[in-house]
């Protein structure tokens, strides 16, 4: 597996370089042509590019939960409101995924070398909360949330009686 990914990576990078070159240099460069100025320019752009990429990447991660929202909505619609093993499984997934994500938010953002990813983190957590909200809504529409009086009915104690009655037909 490791080997394969290695291969893949090299292939990918080779490809990109090639395509870049092909697009940039339709023709072979003339002899004596110096590409240093271009290089230096590229050097600068590369530097900003990395930080930009990191920034972008972190936003990518931060927005991932929000991007999941339509998909989750679709799943929710698919699952229906009946209580059987699959809808329950789906609702469980809806709940667990964001919870796990929030739990491991720090480690997720630690991977990014930038330290100032707080905004992204907030967005990320908010996104996850949106997902939890969706899951709650789903639970509600499935009737799994104890939001009605009937859900507490089993805990209503019978009233104590103030009078005790006995009697009946006169025996003879």
């Amino acid at each position: 597996m490791a080997n394969k990914t290695q291969n893949l990576r090299t292939k990918w990078s080779l490809d990109s370089i090639r395509t870049n070159r092909v697009s940039a240099e339709a023709l072979a460069s003339p002899p004596g042509y110096s590409s240093s100025s271009v290089n230096s320019n590229a050097e600068v752009s590369k530097k900003t590019d990395v930080s930009r990429l990191i920034n972008k990447k972190s936003w990518d991660i931060a927005l991932a939960p929000l991007k999941q929202v339509p998909m989750n909505l679709f799943i929710m619609y698919m699952a229906g409101n009946s209580i059987s093993i699959f809808p329950i499984m789906m609702v469980g997934m809806l709940f667990m995924k964001p919870l796990q994500a929030i739990w491991s938010a720090k480690t997720t953002f630690k991977m990014m070398e930038t330290s100032n990813a707080i905004l992204q983190m907030i967005v990320y957590i908010l996104g996850n909360f949106v997902n939890i909200g969706l899951a709650l809504y789903k639970c509600h529409s499935m009737g799994l949330l104890p939001t009605h009086a009937s859900d507490w009915l089993a805990f209503v104690e019978p009233p104590t009686r103030l009078e005790y009655l006995g009697g009946g037909m006169i025996l003879n």
Partner: protein, 228 residues
């Protein structure tokens, strides 16, 4: 609060009234009310007033009650303070002159707290004969211990409710036969509509398909990779 409760009671009692047409013979009754204001094993009843129900079917009644004398007010307050019973004897005289006597009891403190606002439930059987006269007080709980001034214990505000015997339910065969016929017709047409949604019907085939797609898409790149 009390008004609200009594309004409730009125509504619920009115529900009963809608059945009033079911008694066969309309009649009028006069009820002589007597009450005992001193707690005793062998109570002495004194006159409280008269109620005339002109039409049992409509439940209209005229109530003519004597205000309580100061002595009686004190007696009633005393009765309430001791948490004793206020007893009401009602002598019902029907159209044909037959007399029946009924006894009813309420907690004196409840009567006092309601400021002598009581209700008289006159139950009649399917023939229109009076079977019970019961005094009740509209309240959500028994005595709350409120202090009632003596002036308010003077005039009874009594409402009389004639409560009829409802006709009993009969098995609803007609609609059942109709339902069966409808079902049979539907069957004959051969259109047994399944009104569930497409997804609800076939989710068990769709879900595996989706899973297969997911699985295959996950394995695909690897497979491609491996082959190269």
């Amino acid at each position: 609060m009390l008004c609200y409760l009594s309004a409730f009671l009125v509504i619920s009692l009115n529900v009963q009234k809608s059945y009033s047409s079911n008694i066969e013979y309309d009649g009028s009754v006069t009820i002589r009310l007597q009450h005992a204001l001193v707690a005793s094993e062998d109570p002495v009843f004194t006159d409280r007033g008269n109620v005339t129900v002109h039409s049992l079917r409509l439940g209209q009644a005229t109530i003519n009650q004597r205000p309580l004398s100061p002595d009686e007010q004190l007696q009633l307050r005393d009765l309430a303070a001791k948490n004793h019973f206020y007893q009401l004897k009602s002598i019902v005289t029907a159209n044909d002159g037959s007399q029946k006597t009924f006894l009813s009891t309420v907690k004196a403190c409840m009567l006092a707290e309601s400021e002598l606002d009581d209700r008289l439930s006159v139950s009649i059987d399917y023939m229109g004969r009076v079977i019970a006269v019961t005094s009740i007080i509209a309240s959500k709980s028994t005595c709350e211990g409120a202090v009632v001034s003596l002036e308010k214990l003077k005039h009874f505000t009594t409402s009389v409710y004639v409560r009829h015997t409802e006709p009993g339910p009969i098995p609803d065969t007609a609609s059942y036969i109709q339902k069966l016929e409808r079902e049979r017709e539907a069957k004959e047409k051969g259109e047994v509509k399944d009104n569930r949604s497409f997804l609800a019907k076939y989710w068990m085939y769709i879900v595996p398909l989706v899973i297969i797609m997911v699985v295959s898409s996950a394995t695909n790149p690897d497979a491609q990779q491996g082959s190269q």
